[in-house]
Amino acid sequence: MAGSIEMTYREALHKSMLEEMDKNADVFLMGEDIGRYEGTFKVTKGLFPKYGHRRVIDTPITEAGFAGIATGAAMAGLRPIVEFMTMSFSILAMDQIINHTAKVHYMTNGEVKCPIVFRGPGGAAKQLSAQHSHSMEGWYAHVPGLKVVCPATPADIYGMMKTAIDDDNPVIVYENPGLYTVKGIVPDDPEFKIPFGKAQILREGKDLSLIGYSRMTHVNLATAELLAKEGIEAEVVDVRSLLPLDTETIYASVRKTHRAVVVYEDWRSGGFGAEIASRIGEDCFDDLDAPVIRVGGLNVPMPYARVLELQCIPDENDVLAAVHKLK
């Protein structure tokens, strides 16, 4: 059995890409300031000196252009990993990703594959305000032809990034700037992979299900601690993969606890958590003892002042308040 190592989310992500680049010469990186500058969030640090400008490609600040070039390279059989400095900038590349990348396989009836990964941090960091704080995973998870994953732990980003690189379809790996310094145990196994479409139970409980993904999974874990002090046993469901979505694990938890709170950082209205909540309502109606509750980001553009910003992002207190309303 392989051992395991403690490392940060950032280190696990870095290690995952490095190992896959070593395994497969068709894997290359592309993005703004990822090479010589080592990446804005330092995820790609050290890769440029190791692989050079052929495989670690600094791009101009033209997101649509490089998303499209990487897509074309994937159509020719290479396996690009494209970094968006922040996922908010991927809005400039939306036509490429949605109207081109996501359509290649279907429009060619499977004749052309598009093995590409788009990754980067999305959601609020710290006082980056309205244009740099978007949670857009739901936008992408809306699109047939894309796969979308939002790993919350170092082990998950390590294993899911490998799965993404190996996938023959376009994958959005949606990180969160608040996760890069999170520490965790990661298997010391270059072949370690986590399949998409598998949610996980990070804490068992019988009284209610706290359902979330990405950084909100950590908020849910913290909330469960607080609830335990009140004698309430919350089950924490980490969805991990939005498309494909593992409704089976989510429903099984709800059928056990009969109460569901869905937590997501994206704007509350129309975010992906609303999709999860809607499905639970549709498919688990008879199992529910209370309406499904959504806890989402405030429906406002992200403000700058720290006190206002914190107001927008769901935290343990917001989830706790929602749980108390359930009774």
């Binding site: 101009p60 998303a67 499209g68 429009m107 379809n169």
Partner: protein, 338 residues
């Protein structure tokens, strides 16, 4: 030296006849596409290449078919047919049939045949230009000696992502030829109303891309220019931008049924005088490669071939409704039902 180069570019009678047959085939094939559309057998958006045939013929005869890459916008039938895509499959795709190049999922605008180097067939003006540069990027990465022909219309030459791609293609020295098929209209908007500088070939210069404007209404001249440029790009491994002057005789798409909104009948009549097919006919006769009877026989032969293609495509079945879920992904399907 000059003489030698000239000699190399001088086509044989068989070559000339082939160019003629190719142009005529595209012309008749697309006239039949128009029939299919009028009969309700083709739907959606359909854009024919009528009038522009010399352009595609010149370029496709200058590349290594099945080795080099071709990508274009939605006016894509000619490119696929010239690369060797099964014409029945192209017609079947236009008719939305199972036997189509994409099983009826793409339609006229989305003809793909990657085995023959045809990478579409794209519907967003200018949107495929970075994809084409990406194909060239892969060639550079693998050093596989492929050249990519990256076609667009004059309307696409204004899109932001096209300029982004010019910059990166030059920055990374990609073996990519950007070919602007300037037929003088972006849909119904004349060149001088959509382009601040109507000399589109100049748009390569700010990015250090070698650029020029050539005539696309003369198949022989087009072939000479195309061959020279393809050879240069393959050797130098750098991008090139070519503005090819051409003219479409039909409307923008099948739904464009009032061309007088943007051009006069007199203008159209004037341009018909430089029909690339008639122009090559004159050369064939002048060089004693064919006489009137032979030309008529070729025409009849091609019309018959096209009739057969049409009949075969039309006799083929529509897709099974269950196929709607096929090939969204390579390895999974989506949740089913409404």
């Amino acid at each position: 030296m000059a003489k030698q180069a000239e000699k190399k570019n001088l086509e044989s009678p068989a070559d000339l006849e082939q160019y003629y047959r190719d142009m005529l085939f595209i012309r008749h094939f697309e006239e039949k596409c128009n029939v299919a559309y009028r009969q309700g057998k083709a739907g959606g958006y359909m854009h024919v290449y009528i009038g522009m045939e010399a352009l595609a013929v010149g370029w496709m005869h200058s590349i290594r078919k099945g080795h080099d890459n071709v990508i274009t916008a939605y006016r894509d039938h000619a490119h696929a047919l010239l690369l060797g895509t099964d014409p029945v499959a192209v017609m079947a795709e236009i008719m939305g049939r199972k036997a189509g190049t994409a099983g009826g999922k793409g339609g006229s605008m989305h003809i793909y045949d990657p085995k023959n180097g045809m990478f579409g067939g794209w519907g967003i003006v200018g949107g495929h230009i970075p994809l084409g540069a990406g194909l060239a990027f892969a060639s550079k990465y693998r050093e596989d000696d492929k050249v990519t022909l990256n076609f667009m219309g004059d309307g696409a030459a204004n899109q932001g992502v096209v300029f982004e791609t010019f910059n990166m293609a030059s920055l990374y020295e990609l073996p990519c030829i950007f070919i602007i098929e300037n037929n003088e209209f972006a849909m119904g908007t004349r060149l001088e109303y959509h382009a601040a500088d109507t000399e589109l070939w100049k748009r390569g210069a700010p990015f250090g891309i070698k650029s020029e404007r050539v005539d696309g209404m003369d198949a022989l001249q087009m072939k000479k220019d195309a061959q020279r440029i393809v050879d240069w790009v393959r050797k130098e491994q750098k991008p090139y931008l070519v503005e090819v002057m051409t003219y479409r005789y039909s409307g923008h798409g099948a739904a464009d049924n009032d061309r007088q909104l943007y051009r006069t009948k007199e203008e159209e009549a004037e341009n018909l005088k430089r029909d690339p097919i008639k122009r090559l006919e004159a050369v064939l006769i002048e060089r004693n490669i064919a006489n009137e009877e032979k030309l008529e026989a070729i025409d009849a032969e091609i019309q018959e071939i096209v009739e057969k293609i049409y009949a075969e495509a039309d006799a083929s079945p529509f897709p099974d409704v269950e196929e709607v879920y096929d090939n969204i992904y390579s390895d999974m399907t989506v949740e089913q039902g409404h």
